[in-house]
């Protein structure tokens, strides 16, 4: 178990380093650079060259990379060329927004997706199953920004239950929660659809197995069979997939953030890419990749505890 955990942690740091490296080189492969972006329409070749030299962009890319790694190892992720502030500061400002949205989205998704999936499997073939699976299909196939806009129109405009803006300037906790609810529901809906489908197929598989038939034959109550025997086994693949959905929800979160005008890591990175603010993108991707890998690794470790067969392989 200890060796398994250690290996996962090692793999985790390699993944993060790999991600940041890929992003570092990808960014520099995009046409356009921070210097010409900042100097704009009236830039002369000399002024762009001078600014590039000041930013160190005139040196070979591998040299820039070594410099970046050296600074990153001392905990310095650089200064945003646009704002002149440390890049990590802006990332830190965005983390709570992203974390609140993703975590509440996932919680809603699990709370809704697992019971609905179970219900669908237990009532396999009935109208309820059809209805839930149709809802799940809608959740998976309709783009989250469209669902978001429709929700704003219906729940923030026609029926004014929620604010149209997904963020508030207020520091009041309940106001913030009120603003968060609609975006979290929209994000949760799309993830719930995925989880419900997965839970349903996992449950159907488990319910068809011999030990369930044996339990039924022995007269174990149906409730106990579904929730104690089948669900616990069916949850193992679901648990593993929640880690993947977390990364996926961070991706969808960018769209949700855009529709609901919410700050967050996703929209921050997007803004930084457009401004060719290399340092900000790198710092953002570093944190985002770390979060995804961290969640997946911890789930892998938990998975190892739940299912001892995993650590052997």
């Amino acid at each position: 178990m200890l060796r398994y955990t250690a290996r996962r942690l090692l793999l985790m740091s390699i993944t993060v380093i790999g991600m940041v490296t890929v992003v570092f080189f990808l960014l520099r492969a995009i046409p356009g650079d921070p210097a010409s972006y900042m100097l704009g329409d009236y830039a002369t070749e000399e002024s762009v060259a001078a600014l590039k030299a000041e930013l160190g962009l005139d040196r070979p890319v591998w040299e820039q990379y070594l410099g970046f790694v050296k600074r990153a190892l001392t905990g310095d992720l650089g200064t945003s060329v646009v704002t002149g502030q440390p890049a990590f500061d802006e990332v830190l400002e965005s983390i709570p927004w992203s974390a609140a949205l993703s975590v509440s989205g996932i919680v809603i998704a699990v709370l809704a997706g697992v019971p609905l999936g179970v219900m669908s499997a237990v009532r396999h073939g009935t109208f309820a199953d059809l209805f839930i699976m149709f809802g799940a299909l809608v959740g998976i196939s309709f783009p989250v920004f469209w669902v978001g806009l429709v929700c704003i129109l219906l729940l923030a405009h026609e029926v004014r239950l929620f604010p149209a803006l997904g963020a508030s300037s207020s520091t009041d906790f309940f106001t913030q929660v009120h603003h968060l609810m609609l975006p979290a529901l929209v994000l949760g809906f799309s993830v719930a659809a995925y989880i419900a489908r997965l839970t349903r197929s996992a449950m159907l598989e488990v319910l068809g197995q011999d030990f369930v038939r044996v339990a039924r034959a022995m007269g174990v109550p149906e409730r106990r069979i579904v929730y104690r025997l089948a669900l616990r086994n069916a949850l193992i693949p679901v648990l593993a997939v929640i880690g993947v959905t977390f990364a996926w929800s961070l991706g969808s979160a960018i769209l949700v953030e855009a529709v609901f005008s919410r700050p967050g890591l996703g929209s921050m990175i997007l803004k930084a890419v457009f401004a060719r603010d290399y340092q900000l993108v790198q710092a953002g991707v570093f944190v985002l990749a770390s979060a995804v890998v961290l969640v997946n690794t911890s789930l892998d470790i938990v998975y190892g505890w739940v299912d001892p067969r995993v650590s052997v392989s």
């Binding site: 010409s36 070749e45 309940f174 609810m181 700050p263 929209s267």
Partner: protein, 503 residues
């Protein structure tokens, strides 16, 4: 499950009670995040809007008429030969956050900082021709020019390079860090930037023009225009700045308790024809293109009437505006005849534009118009960096460009028509017949005569059509009925100083 819903309902009801109205705080929608509020390096309407609350210039434009009025300078005089401007500063103007009284040294510092190549200011060119800035006493500033320039005041208005920063603040905060910690003398004090969410400025109770009626202004970042419209209708914001989408404009015009304002901007969006590329060197071909493109239909169709016609590159928001210039109403027959006369039937015109809406879309109806008069067209859409690079090299056949800026006639005219703006400048057409007129306008101290010279430039350049104005941009914004006293300027910023809120 039932428990969960109960808890959710509890939170919801608590949240509804939790929303409270505070002091007089104006909430303004901006379309994207701010990032740099340093006058030497600032760009983008969101940054400029926030900065215009924090800073003053030596002089300012009247928001409604674009006339130049005193701001930090109480009065000014011009030397007889027109090469020295002496400004008398207002006494007792204090910088925000305890950075002391404004003196001539701060003005000298601010202007010299823009001129200093080490600053790498994008506005150094705006102050080209300034030989030096002198501060003979704490309340006197003298700007010395290499040659007379009657347009200098336009360069020193409260916009971009004209905004005055505190020497002490920039030095203590740091040249780069200053970008998001601005210190000015304006009606509002920079309070806090929450990245991706909002920027807040609070009233400067000691403002020399009198304290603003508002206590604070929050600029909320709302990208989507439909979401912003709903937020305005719901009362979550008070002012919808940078309203562009025709369907949203239409929607808000019909909404209750919402006023939509619009004003012609200081710029036109133009098709620049490179005269050094054959057959665009032939004036008949350029005129054929002008007659061939149905600009009226572009405005009425694509823009749903949300733009104004562009008669020359000087829009109706300039005091120098005139319509007494050669006009090119849509006339496909005339276009065909001109092409036949020039012996250029069926040549290929490459329409090059940046990959940003609406430019990458409006080239399509333009191309279809041109195909109808027998010009083959090829549309090339470039990513912004690549576009700037291609335009900087200057060998592209056409490009689509607007000169966004203050109502300073030199700004579009010199940028588009002077030989000193040859690529990498904005004169991608390489038009070379306006230099003498532009120089005499600069030297002319009499405003009426100067206006006449500018109008001569406009008619000459519209006769030669190196640059075809497609439309004059029009700026929309909307506000709720609570907002009183909002004046829309033509700079595409929103200024909250004159605003008050009524319940």
């Amino acid at each position: 499950m039932r428990k969960t819903f109960g808890a959710l309902a509890l939170i919801l009801s608590a949240a509804l009670i939790g929303t409270s109205a505070g002091a007089a705080e104006l909430r303004v929608r901006i379309g994207s995040d701010v990032g740099n509020l340093d006058p030497a390096r600032i760009f983008g309407i969101e940054n400029q809007t926030v900065a215009s609350h924090v800073y003053n210039g030596l002089v300012k434009y009247d928001q409604a008429t674009n006339k130049i009025l005193p701001d930090l300078a109480e009065s000014w005089s011009v030397s007889e030969d027109g090469t020295a401007y002496t400004f008398k500063l207002r006494d007792g103007v204090m910088f925000h956050k305890g950075y002391g009284q404004l003196t001539s040294d701060d003005v000298k510092f601010s202007l010299e900082r823009v001129l200093n190549p080490d600053t790498k200011s994008r506005y150094a060119g705006q102050l080209a021709g300034v030989k030096g800035v002198e501060a003979p006493d704490p309340l006197t500033v003298r700007v010395v020019l290499e040659a007379p320039n009657a347009g200098l005041l336009n360069k020193l208005t409260d916009f971009n390079q004209g905004w005055i920063a505190s020497r002490k603040a920039v030095t203590e905060i740091g040249d780069k860090q200053y970008a998001m910690q601005p210190v000015g003398t304006g009606p509002f004090v920079f309070d806090k930037w929450s990245p991706g969410n909002q920027v807040r400025v609070v009233a400067n109770k000691d403002y020399f023009g009198g304290a603003p009626s508002l206590d604070a202004v929050t600029f909320r970042i709302i990208k989507d225009e439909t979401a912003a419209a709903i937020a305005l209708e719901n009362g979550e914001i008070d002012v919808f700045f940078a309203l562009q989408s025709p369907p949203v404009i239409d929607r808000l015009k019909k909404a209750d308790g919402v006023t939509v304002m619009n004003r012609v901007a200081n710029h036109t969006i133009n098709l620049v024809l490179n005269q050094t590329v054959k057959p665009l060197d032939d004036i008949r071909v350029r005129k054929a293109i002008a007659y061939g493109i149905n600009r009226e239909a572009l405005i009425a169709g694509y823009f749903k009437g949300t733009k104004a016609p562009g008669h020359s590159v000087i829009t109706s928001s300039f005091p120098e505006y005139t319509e007494e210039v050669p006009q090119y109403a849509h006339d496909p027959e005339k276009a065909k005849a001109l092409l036949k006369e020039a012996g250029q039937e069926g040549f290929e015109l490459e329409l090059i534009t940046v990959g940003l809406s609406p430019y990458n879309e409006l080239v399509i109806p333009m191309a279809s118009d041109l195909e109808k008069v027998g010009i083959k067209t090829k549309i090339t859409v470039l990513e912004r960096g690549a576009y700037l690079q291609a335009r900087g090299k200057g060998d592209i056949m056409t490009c689509i460009t607007g000169i966004v800026g203050p109502p300073d006639p030199d700004s579009p005219l010199v940028s588009l028509y002077a030989t000193k703006s040859f690529p990498p400048g904005m004169n991608t057409s390489r038009y070379d017949k306006a230099d003498d007129l532009l120089a005499s306008a600069s030297a002319e101290q009499d405003p009426a005569k100067r206006t006449a010279i500018y109008q001569q430039v406009m008619s000459q350049t519209m006769e030669d059509v190196p640059v075809l104005p497609l439309y004059a941009d029009q700026l929309f914004m909307a506000h709720s009925s609570k907002v009183k006293g909002l004046v829309q300027n033509s700079l595409f910023t929103v200024q909250a100083y004159t605003v008050s809120l009524e319940e």
